[in-house]
């Protein structure tokens, strides 16, 4: 069974688990510049996707399109069968930026609680995680730092707060735009492992943009390779490495083979 397929076939038949996201010939244009051209793909619910591609291939644009930050110039995007706007209002997805984007005057805990406060006064029903904000901070390994202000935390800790904040509304789709790009190697490894653990525990779908080939192979079940000028899908590479993954796996020949293959692919993009 292919988990991801260019949509030459119609929508999946009934009884099939609904896709987390479906893009049908979606294009994004900024003025005369075409950032994404006719992108069609289906994101299977519960899977971990990493997105690779040369700069300018529309990796971030794709996440922005899915998260309703920018509109599609043509084509359709569906999130769990809803329009991107409906999905946004229902908090189906959460976004983790490269920069943690914490509010500096709020403590770690208050930052995690922010999504719960937004819309509450307007009587909007907010989906909440089974875990309290406090438990989520514990899940990302920040127990005891609940009251710390962002400037008192390291870059890695801030990003973990951002992940906890993203999880607080129990999103079914987690969009991550190079979340660990600015961190040092050690912190990055650690957070990669933690993210995999969170993914397994929460069962959420993850779309993870990265610049790093090893990171893409290490995290993903599928690597979406995008191509630039204009941005479009080049290839979907299935990473058939066993879970749970361990850092040591990166030294195995299989891992190296995937990395080498992706590197070659990237060079021709």
């Amino acid at each position: 069974m292919t988990l991801v397929q260019p949509l030459t076939t119609p929508a999946p038949e009934a009884g099939h688990a609904p896709a987390a996201a479906i893009l049908r010939n979606a294009s994004v244009r900024f003025g005369t510049f075409t950032a994404i051209q006719d992108l069609s793909l289906e994101i299977e619910a519960g899977a971990f996707y990493t997105i690779l591609g040369p700069s300018g291939c529309g990796k971030s644009t794709m996440l922005r399109l899915v998260s309703d930050l920018i509109p599609a110039a043509s084509g359709e995007v569906e999130i769990f069968g809803k329009s991107t706007e409906e999905a946004r209002l229902a908090r189906e997805f959460a976004f983790v930026f490269q920069d943690a984007t914490l509010l500096p005057w709020r403590s770690a805990l208050q930052n995690v609680e922010l999504p719960l406060e937004i819309g509450r006064k307007r009587g909007i029903e907010i989906k909440t995680s089974d875990r309290s904000p406090r438990e989520l901070l514990e899940l990302v390994g920040l127990k005891g730092r609940e009251d710390a202000l962002p400037h008192e935390l390291s870059g890695g800790m801030r990003q973990r707060v951002a992940i906890a904040r993203a999880l607080v509304c129990q999103p079914r789709l987690l969009l991550m735009d190079e979340p660990f790009g600015a961190l040092d190697e050690m912190t990055r490894d650690h957070l990669n492992l933690q993210l995999l653990q969170i993914w397994e525990e929460t069962g959420t779908t993850i779309l993870f943009v990265t610049h790093s080939i090893p990171e893409a192979v290490f995290l993903g079940q599928k690597v979406l390779m995008l191509q630039a000028h204009p941005g479009r899908l080049r290839e979907v590479v299935e990473i058939d490495l066993p879970f749970p993954r361990a850092i040591k796996q990166r030294e195995t020949p299989e891992f190296m083979r995937y990395a080498a293959y992706l590197r070659e692919l990237l060079e021709t993009c």
């Binding site: 998260s67 930050l69 908090r91 930026f97 984007t101 005057w105 922010l114 406060e117």
Partner: protein, 267 residues
């Protein structure tokens, strides 16, 4: 072994602490010492060259006047404090509200910002008589002048502060489907606070200038009125004492704002 190791560590720590204390004392002692030396030069200069008291009083004369005329000084201190505080409140509140309007409506900004700049370019000394003519010699004119002098720096800073929100924070708000009001209260307003306090610190001292200028133009009470009175009566020591008190008022206002800032802006 451990005990022996402990000793140098302990003494190193002690030296460090002593060093820190010395640095702290220096930080206070150097400026204080300089000020005291300058005062001493002034005192000696006035006495040695026999400068008449009405031209330049010695610091000791000023100090004596400050004590002797304390009731008179305080009688004039309170009105100025009152005018300054009211002007500070009115001017900054107006600036903050207008800044909010500017940020939410570009048309309002385009319409009124040039006018705000124009008003700011008029010297306060030139506009004060106009305001006294309009509002009379009472409290209102002084408050308006003090408010006017506070207004512009706060307006400019507050607009910058409200716009200082990172684009990513706004994207976060969008993903959370935040309303305009929520973006304002939860993100824009707190983001602007450091900018607002920079402006308030400027306003804390300028509002006193505004109140005093207002009193110069027409008043029978207040530090400004006392300055005029003392000058025309050649009571130089009283003049200096009044000036000293005026600057004391500014320092008091500034210190208050700084303390509030430290309590509010903890990040």
């Amino acid at each position: 072994m451990a005990v022996i190791d402990d000793i140098p560590a302990q003494s190193a720590q002690d030296t460090e602490r002593a060093e820190a204390t010395r640095r702290k004392i220096n930080a206070v002692a150097v400026p204080l010492g300089t000020a005291a030396a300058l005062l001493a030069c002034w005192q000696i200069g006035v006495r040695v060259f026999g400068v008449p008291n009405y031209i330049a009083p010695a610091p000791s004369d000023v100090a004596v006047t400050l004590v002797q005329e304390f009731p008179l000084l305080m009688q004039n201190f309170w009105p100025t404090l009152y005018e300054s505080l009211l002007g500070f409140a009115v001017g900054n509140l107006a600036a903050v509200l207008i800044a909010v309007a500017f940020v939410h409506n570009r048309v309002v900004e385009r319409a009124f910002f040039p006018i705000a700049v124009f008003v700011n370019t008029i010297p306060i000394l030139a506009i004060a008589p106009i305001l006294v003519l309009i509002f009379g010699a009472g409290l209102t004119a002084k408050v308006v002048i003090a408010a006017l002098i506070c207004f512009f720096p706060t307006l400019v800073n507050m607009v910058r502060g409200l716009q200082s929100v990172s684009p990513q924070a706004l994207e976060l708000a969008r993903i959370l489907s935040a309303s305009k009001a929520e973006v304002f209260w939860k993100i824009r307003l707190p983001s602007s606070l450091p900018y607002l306090f920079s402006a308030l610190k400027i306003a804390a001292t300028t509002c006193v200038i505004g109140a005093i200028v207002g009193e110069w133009v027409g008043a029978d009470r207040g530090l400004g009125a006392l300055i005029i009175d003392a000058t025309f009566n050649f009571r130089s020591a009283l003049l200096y004492a009044t000036v000293f008190l005026s600057s004391g008022l500014s320092v008091l206002m500034f210190a208050t704002v700084s303390i509030v800032e430290r309590l509010v802006v903890r990040w």
